[in-house]
């Protein structure tokens, strides 16, 4: 095992003890990126010189001092490009820092580079990037999941110690599951969204990708907290999330929703998650069968509400103040129509049209308002469940990674990849995905990671991290290395 395989926690110990220097760490990582990223294509942009420069003056006494962290291309980093993997933002240089970026800087982290994603975070495979698709480090023929596929692949391939992503319907947890790393979607309002290019504002949250659960807790300690610039960020107190990772979960009540083990789920995923549930029982947790009856409607609700918000959020990309503009517009309407036609990819266009439609006069009641009510039922499902249990166990994704190109023809098929993660965003609660096994190799498909999702109530990050940590320490799936 070399330096690049360290967890953030392990790396920090070595840095603090001066056994290694931040410069050595950055150099090792840059070498790794140079060696394998041409195949994985996790990064869109790496500023090696700036990273080396930052490493020279890194303060290793700080919480993330000298630790390089990769950033999904959806967050504004002052002076850096931020394209959201879209042609429409080509050439845009961010004039300000996202709040989370400021927090990482304050914690001493080195901002290493920008990771690939589905355009404007719309997708489940990172195939919707305007700059080419990212591949899964466990099998280059497979997709890494999405939309934060670049961040997941970078951490899964040990091209990053940790990364930031954003999760609107599963965009952190699903690629984490598919790339064999840990990904956490915080409770809505836990982490400031200021500086995150919005997809669906009422659902978006920024969260970490890490190699271990403890690292996720460490990053959440840095990222969490109220931000006066984000009106929806909570003033709820932030506990020290690393402090209670004791490994002891005796007496913890874990719910298993019967609706999540349905037909259509890959048998190997089903088996791995059921084995994880058994493991929890072994560790002293109490397993309780629960029901989340409105889950079956989550995807439908999501594709109404998220696209509606997106249709407004993406209206600002018009070629007036930033980004690209169509050549020689003949008038304002021509400028809008062609700039947006040339700048957006097909999935983004599809969602803008869908979102515009469900809000339009005559349809808003039937679609948008009705979907909001069903969302409330989904939310109530979770609140009722959390009266009985401390956390909920489910698969993160119904299948392991699928092959590149396999689902691009059917948007609806692609949407169903997020069937287990979407309800968590709709309810606003928190969720984490962590490795819980692998598929059996079959034909030319090698073994692929499987993810376990642990869902917690509002402000329940401490609980899901504690549960995840106990499982991880007793199994060791996280120690497996990808073939690349």
């Amino acid at each position: 095992m070399s330096m690049i395989h360290f967890s953030v926690t392990a790396l920090r110990k070595q840095l603090a003890a001066k056994e290694i220097s931040p410069v050595e760490v950055v150099d090792a990582l840059l070498a790794r990126i140079e060696a394998i990223d041409p195949q994985v294509k996790a990064y869109l942009h790496v500023d090696a010189a700036a990273a080396r420069e930052a490493a020279k003056s890194a303060d290793v006494t700080r919480p993330l001092g000298g630790v390089p962290i990769a950033i999904k291309d959806v967050l504004n980093v002052k002076g850096d490009p931020c394209t959201c993997a879209s042609k429409i933002l080509k050439g845009y240089i961010a004039p300000y820092d996202a709040t989370t970026i400021g927090k990482l800087r304050d914690a001493g982290a080195i901002l290493l580079g920008r990771t690939n994603m589905d355009e404007f975070a719309m997708g489940s495979s990172t195939e919707n990037s305007s700059w080419g698709s990212t591949r899964n480090p466990w099998s280059l023929a497979h997709i890494p999941g999405g939309s934060s596929g670049g961040s997941a692949a970078a951490v899964g391939a040990h091209e990053a110690f940790a990364a930031l992503g954003s999760d609107t319907g599963g965009s952190i947890r699903q690629p984490a599951a598919l790339c064999g790393c840990v990904g956490l979607k915080p409770t809505y309002g836990r982490v400031s969204r200021f500086g995150l290019v919005a997809f669906a504002s009422s659902l978006d949250q920024i969260g970490p990708f890490t190699k271990t659960v403890e690292d996720a807790a460490l990053l959440m300690n840095v990222l969490s907290g109220h931000d006066p610039l984000d009106n929806t960020s909570s003033r709820q107190q932030v506990p020290d999330l690393t402090a209670r990772l004791t490994g002891d979960i005796k007496g913890m009540k874990l719910g298993v929703p019967k609706e999540y083990f349905i037909e259509g789920i890959d048998p190997q995923v089903d088996a791995a998650v059921k084995a994880a549930i058994a493991k929890y029982q072994e560790l002293g947790a109490e397993i309780v069968e629960i029901s989340l009856p409105h889950t079956e409607h989550a995807v439908a609700v999501y594709y109404i509400l998220a696209t509606a918000e997106a249709s407004a959020n993406l209206a600002r990309f018009d070629g007036v103040r930033y980004g690209t503009r169509a050549e020689k517009p003949t008038g304002v309407l021509d400028m809008y129509g062609r700039t947006r036609a040339e700048g957006f990819g097909p999935e983004v266009k599809r969602r803008i049209i869908l979102g515009t439609y469900v809000l339009s006069s005559g349809y808003a009641d039937a679609y948008y308002k009705h979907a909001q009510k069903v969302q409330e039922l989904i939310r109530q499902d979770f609140h009722k469940a959390f009266e009985k249990v401390d956390a909920i166990l489910t698969p993160t994704s119904p299948t392991a990674a699928f092959k590149a190109g396999e689902r691009t023809a059917s948007p609806l098929q692609m949407y169903l990849a997020d069937i287990f993660t979407i309800a968590v965003n709709l309810a606003g609660v928190c969720g984490i995905s962590l490795p819980c096994g692998f598929t059996m190799p079959e034909g030319d498909t090698p073994r692929l990671p499987i993810g376990l999702q642990i869902i917690g109530p509002n402000w329940g990050e401490e609980t899901i991290l504690r549960a995840g940590h106990a499982y991880e320490q007793s199994t060791g799936w996280h120690k497996e290395l990808p073939p690349i």
């Binding site: 504004n76 961010a94 919005a198 009422s202 103040r321 809000l359 339009s360």
Partner: protein
């Protein structure tokens, strides 16, 4: 057939705050283009709005002043439409849960145009009901050249109230009075400077006509580009005449937006390429709803000023000024405040009101340039009341005090410098009276014959003899006695 007009107004008012509605940039008219901007009001990718506390409170205050119902809960919505002056291509506004609903603007007499104040058709104290008041953000300003437009985002994000009236007005004069009275209240509450020339108050007019007695509304037209209250009146007069002419000749009115040309004095159809309008309102997910019962309403209540009608009543009773004077004084809060200071030490408050309204404002259009310390009014009035100078002298002193006073002399100093004294010494007065009677045989005869007014001629003689310094009242008494004794 006789027709009547039906008029409703949508008024946009920029709030007087330090900063913009959703970011900390300065809220200030003018400035070099794109210097009062930040990533938030430019709608850069990833930014989020944070609502301005004072803008919310001032909107509630406006609602309280106009007797609206203040919603306990309200929220912001996104209004979607594309235009280069809109940074996000949606405007943060309020749709189905505005801050204020209902309420009314009262059209007091002085709010009407001067030439309409005495008309029989003028309905004094008519209440024009309001539909709602909501809070939103202003858009950028653009300037147009050959073939291109330039956009300046300094104004983008300025806190903006939209005040929507019911279609309660029937004449251009009522629309004029509505805007005048509304503006007065906005200034009273220090909510806005409401200067139409600076675009701080902007008005869109909806107008239709119908045969008198008919209940159903006619087809309405919207008039835009109205840059003054008088333009609103004139444009309405033009547009109502136009519509009546069309209808009475059997034509039909098309629903359209018309632009007022102030120079030509006419409205014309705006050539906007017809685009489907569908604002697709939905709740702004970046902002939490507001609860006005958690302090916001009570903060606004503390700011509640004495309103024009209450001030008018109080000035009349407290200072004994006439109802008309009280109306004029309360028409502007600055005038009323000045009057109260000016009259504070006066024994006869009415004299101060006369000086201020008849002698000062008759010549000067407003108070903004007055350089006279308010207490001087009392000082001057009290000299007059005490009989130390007469009213003619007082007028002269006043004139010098306000407009020709390089030494910044007080009224007492001016009186002294002018040598103004009022002779009340009966000996001297009697001598002048005797002289006047001796020289005015004709007047004496007239008086004796029962023409009481002849006394004034004699009085004038005495005043002349005294070089204006005699106390006219005492002179009158002495003359009367002497004439009776003849």
């Amino acid at each position: 057939m006789e027709y009547e007009a039906v008029i409703g107004l949508e008024v946009h008012v920029q709030l007087k705050t330090n900063t913009k509605m959703f970011c900390g940039c300065i809220n200030k008219y003018g400035g070099l283009p794109n210097t009062h901007v930040c990533p938030i009001c430019l709608g850069m990718p990833g930014v989020m709005p944070t609502p301005n506390h004072d803008a919310v409170v001032k909107t509630i205050l406006t609602g309280l002043m106009l007797e609206c119902n203040i919603a306990t809960r309200c929220k912001f919505d996104r209004k979607n439409y594309f235009y280069p002056d809109m940074p996000k291509n949606y405007q943060i506004s309020q749709y189905d849960e505005p801050l204020c609903e209902g309420g009314a603007v009262t059209l007091n007499l002085l709010a009407y145009p001067k030439d309409a104040q005495k008309l029989e058709t003028t309905v004094v104290d008519k209440k024009v009901r309001l539909v709602r008041i909501h809070l939103e953000e202003d858009v950028a300003k653009s300037q147009h050249d050959e073939g291109q437009s330039g956009v300046d985002f300094n104004r983008a994000g300025t806190p903006l109230m939209e005040i929507v009236s019911e279609a309660d007005m029937r004449t251009p004069e009522e629309a004029f009075a509505y805007l005048t009275a509304l503006k007065q209240i906005l200034i009273y509450g220090n909510v806005s400077d409401a200067d139409m020339e600076k675009g701080q108050l902007r008005c869109d007019v909806n107008v239709s006509v119908r045969p008198k007695g008919q209940e159903k509304f006619g087809t309405k037209c919207e008039i835009k580009n109205l840059n003054s209250i008088s333009a609103v009146r004139r444009s309405l007069k033009y547009e109502i005449d136009r519509q009546i002419e069309v209808v009475s000749e059997g034509g039909t009115i098309r629903q359209e937006t018309r632009r007022w040309n102030d120079v030509k004095g006419e409205t014309a159809v705006m050539r906007i390429k017809e685009q489907a309008h569908d604002y697709r309102y939905f709740p702004e997910p970046d902002l939490l709803p507001l609860n006005t019962s958690l302090g916001l309403r009570s903060e606004a209540e503390v700011l509640m000023p004495e309103l024009p009608s209450a001030k008018k009543a109080r000035l009349a009773t407290q200072y004994g000024v006439s109802e008309y004077q009280a109306s004029v004084l309360s028409s502007e809060v600055a005038l009323a405040d000045y009057f109260e200071k000016a009259a504070e030490a006066a024994k006869d408050k009415g004299l101060v009101a006369n000086f201020l309204l008849n002698d000062y404002l008759a010549i000067n259009s407003d108070l903004s340039t007055i350089a006279v310390p308010a207490p001087w009014f009392s000082e001057l009035a009290n000299e007059l009341t005490a009989g130390k100078i007469n009213s003619k002298q007082a007028k002269e002193v006043f004139g010098l005090m306000v407009s020709d006073n390089p030494g910044n002399l007080t009224p007492l100093e001016i009186i002294k410098a002018k040598g103004f004294v009022q002779v009340t010494d009966t000996g001297a007065l009697e001598a002048w009276c005797d002289q006047a009677i001796a020289n005015g045989a004709r007047s004496v005869a007239d008086y004796k014959a029962g023409k009481v007014a002849a006394l004034n001629a004699l009085k004038g003689q005495v005043m002349k003899l005294s070089k204006g310094q005699a106390n006219p009242q005492t002179v009158g008494e002495i003359l009367e006695q002497k004439l009776k004794a003849l």
